[in-house]
Amino acid sequence: MKTENKAVDINRSIGDFHYKVDYAKDAGSGLSEKTIHYISDAKEDPDWVREFRLRGLKTFLEKPLPTHWASKDLEAIDFDKIRYYLASGDAAKRTWEEVPEDIKRTFERLGIPEQERKFLAGVEAQFDSEAVYSNIKKAVGEQGVIFVGSTEGLKNHPDIFRKWFGKVIPIADNKFSALNAAVFSGGSFIYVPPGVKVKHPLQAYFRINAENFGQFERTLIIADEGSEVTYMEGCTAPKFETTTLHSAVVELVALKGAKIQYITVQNWSANVFNLVTKRGLAHEDAEIKWIDCNIGSRLTMKYPGVVLKGRKARGEVLSIALANNGQHQDTGAKMIHAADETTSNIISKSISIGTGRATYRGLVHVPKHLKNCKNNTECDALLINSTSRTDTYPAITVRGTGNAVQHEASVSQVSAEQIFYMQQRGLTEAQAMSLSVNGFVNDLVRQFPMEYSVELKRLIELEMEGSVG
């Protein structure tokens, strides 16, 4: 195949829109103790949350940017120009009717038809930093499932909330988790009572809709003993001239025998810095599965992790990354084995197009005196153009006998024979390429819930447009 394929900019006009919104509350740009107090006052935080925020701010200011291993592009973030808190002032809405008309329009452009709610168990729609609309289907509520915004969660369910909040990801975990601790707003709080199996996935859409405004949601999901829940997070963002920062923290707690599946389709516009910390704590016999798909953003740094704390706990990360021109998808996974007979599986596939760069960073840790722990890691990278780049940086520590860890990675190009074969059958080179790339990720995409896998395939086709020829 030709090596000098030129990458053409893809059509990003979809999702590229902006409605004017009047913000009732605005903390202004820049970050100081004053900002924290403004947020705490606006949100009527309890004292312990205010303290938590201030500790977060202190840690954030102390910690240097992790540029000794991460991309120097982080230095392009001007923390003084970011607005850390904006809200339209209203409390979270209960019914669809109460949602303001122009905001509804935004959701429609995002492709969330009203009737979809009938299928989905609940929609927690975050419009900028406050949950504007929150609805759980009656059936889920009757099962005792709590599905609310994080602000509501910490106010109305403090006993469950406080027990786990900030425990899976401590404030000082990294610079950006500290930033989130300082200025978090929005995100979801979910509690699934013992034995309850939530049939339909719970879903939330996030959007950024103010220039220079970072979103700092904080999600905490607790699945009590023997319960099961699937959570879906998807996002598109309008395009702006200056950079936008998105720095979420997601904590999952799966108690004995519980199962949590967390699905993300990330499609921020190409000016967003997406620096996210996601980690789950799996107790005995519990299972946590991250399904992570990164298509948008300028720089994404995200390494979903599972701490396998109880015997026979299982952790899994399935990840797809697509890096197009100017994008850097720095993703990966962390598996911390902390009990006997724990197993983990990481499967990562990345596609680099044009000048895109996809990076896999992994951490697998099996400390000593554990028995029968197993990890399997597979990373495959596909390079489309001669200017594309891919990196793999795993770190694997194994102590003692009785454990098995294997890591495998490969980098390749779409096979010329495959393309030739398809062209023989009348497909254009671009169609053949798109089909081939979809085939590359197909076995992973199939594991996604149906509506996501359809959306994903469409997104990949969109990104592939104009990348060859």
Binding site: T401, Q406, H407
Partner: protein
């Protein structure tokens, strides 16, 4: 033989006091040493937070206790000579102890006549200054040890210079011994190997200590240059004493259609870091990087590699195997880098750890950085223990556990050694591994 003025006042000095003024050194070399010393002092000591030193026990790199090697007595020299037994047959041999030349077995007159130059570094820098200056440490140390490469450059006083001219094939291996003698002593071994077009040579280096328990510090650098179509094989049998801290930084440059193979056998030392940089600068070049380690007690082996594909149509293949017992630790940090436009690269990297005890630890960081699209690159890392079925099979044949374990480990490592395709060297290396097993049981 021109020797170095190792009088007692000099030799008792700590290495952190800087370069010693040796006679007979050219001015340019002396200047280079002083510049390197300034560089050494300006670079901070590595910490574990530095990515290239992740998982390394950097506390062991306190160099304050180490001093220059004292001059050896005639008895010492005779003793070193007596124990310098390696391969049965060799084409030429140099033996150093405390960086002092003990014996020199030159290559045959025929090879000399055909232009082979095999001599100590201190002579080569005068007699072959052009070649020397062109290639001596011409590549920066990029794998983390820039500070220690500077230290080596500032303090190196001896080593080996080997030049194999166009089309000359040296059938038998060239042997080099480096001995540490005395307590708290340091050595700075160097090998500058230059092969011209279509030349062929095999070099075997032995690193040993006279006293198995003495502390010591070894800081070596090798420049291995494989000219167009040349075939270079380098074998390092690292068997320093058990309290030695060792750093070795090797750079292999592979020109077009050349092939280089290196095998590092790590048996000795308390902490040994081995940095191997393989630069594939010409089309059709191929580099094989092999390593075997048997780590016992509290030993720590730290391997860092870079397969740097600079030119299109190059191939590299890395296979590192570690067997770990007791409280031993092994770290592997490797990277395959495919530079922009280095298309048709075929690169492979595999590290396998066999953990034999509950307190052993293996860290693997196999990495890829691919900046060209028409490539095939794969890597794999595994860590596991002896297969129970294999053990059961051997038990059922009446073989006791320890022997069975040894058989399986030997088989596990042998597969790397066989890749050398040089039976006599392979036998010799297997012998060293057996000796280590015999010692540790």
């Amino acid at each position: 033989m021109s020797s170095i003025a190792h009088d007692e006042t000099v030799s008792s000095k700590g290495i952190l006091s800087g370069p010693i003024e040796l006679r007979d050194l050219p001015d340019w070399f002396r200047d280079q040493q002083h510049a390197a010393w300034e560089k050494f002092e300006s670079i901070p000591r590595p910490t574990r937070k530095d990515q290239p030193w992740r998982f390394s026990n950097v506390d062991l790199l306190d160099l304050a206790p180490f001093k220059f090697s004292p001059a050896l007595s005639d008895d010492d020299r005779a003793n070193v000579l007596k124990y310098s037994r390696g391969l049965d047959r060799f084409a030429g041999r140099l033996i150093f102890a405390g960086d002092q030349l003990i014996e020199r077995n030159v290559v045959s007159d025929d090879l000399k006549k055909r232009g082979v130059i095999f001599q100590p570094l201190e002579r080569a820098m005068i007699e072959h200054a052009d070649l020397f200056r062109k290639h001596f440490m011409s590549q920066p140390a990029v794998l983390g040890s820039a500070k220690f490469a500077a230290l080596h450059k500032a303090l190196v006083s001896n080593g080996t210079f080997l030049f194999v001219p166009r089309g000359v094939e040296i059938e038998q291996p060239i042997e080099i011994f480096h001995w540490l003698r005395g307590e708290g002593v340091s050595v700075f071994p160097h090998l500058l190997l230059i092969t011209d077009e279509l030349a062929k040579v095999t070099v075997v280096e032995h690193f040993r200590s006279c006293d198995a328990r003495a502390t010591g510090f070894a800081c070596g650098v090798n420049d291995l240059i494989a000219g167009p179509g040349a075939k270079v094989t380098y074998v390092c049998a690292q068997n320093w004493g058990e309290n030695v801290v060792a750093l070795q930084m090797n750079t292999t440059t592979v020109d077009h259609d050349a092939s280089a193979m290196s095998l590092n056998l790590n048996l000795g030392s308390k902490y040994s870091r081995f940095e191997s940089l393989s630069r594939l600068v010409g089309e059709g070049g191929r580099s094989d990087l092999l390593a075997v380690a048997v780590a016992t007690n509290e030993q720590e082996f730290d391997a860092r590699t870079l397969q740097d594909h600079i030119s299109p149509r190059t191939a590299s293949d890395l296979l590192y195997k570690n067997a770990l017992d007791d409280r031993a630790r092994c770290t592997f940090g490797g990277l395959i880098r495919v530079e922009p436009h280095a298309h048709f690269t075929d690169a492979y990297q595999k590290v396998r750890n066999l953990l034999l005890s509950d307190d052993s630890e293996a860290n693997s960081m196999p990495g890829l950085e691919i900046l060209a699209d028409n490539v095939r690159c794969t890597h794999g890392a595994t860590s596991g223990q002896i297969n129970e079925d294999e053990m059961f099979y051997l038990h059922s044949r009446g073989i006791p556990t320890k022997v069975a374990q040894r058989l399986i480990v030997t088989g596990f490592l042998n597969d790397v050694i066989q890749r050398l395709d040089q039976p006599s060297i392979a036998d010799y290396l297997r012998g060293l591994i057996d000796q280590k097993f015999a010692r540790s049981r």
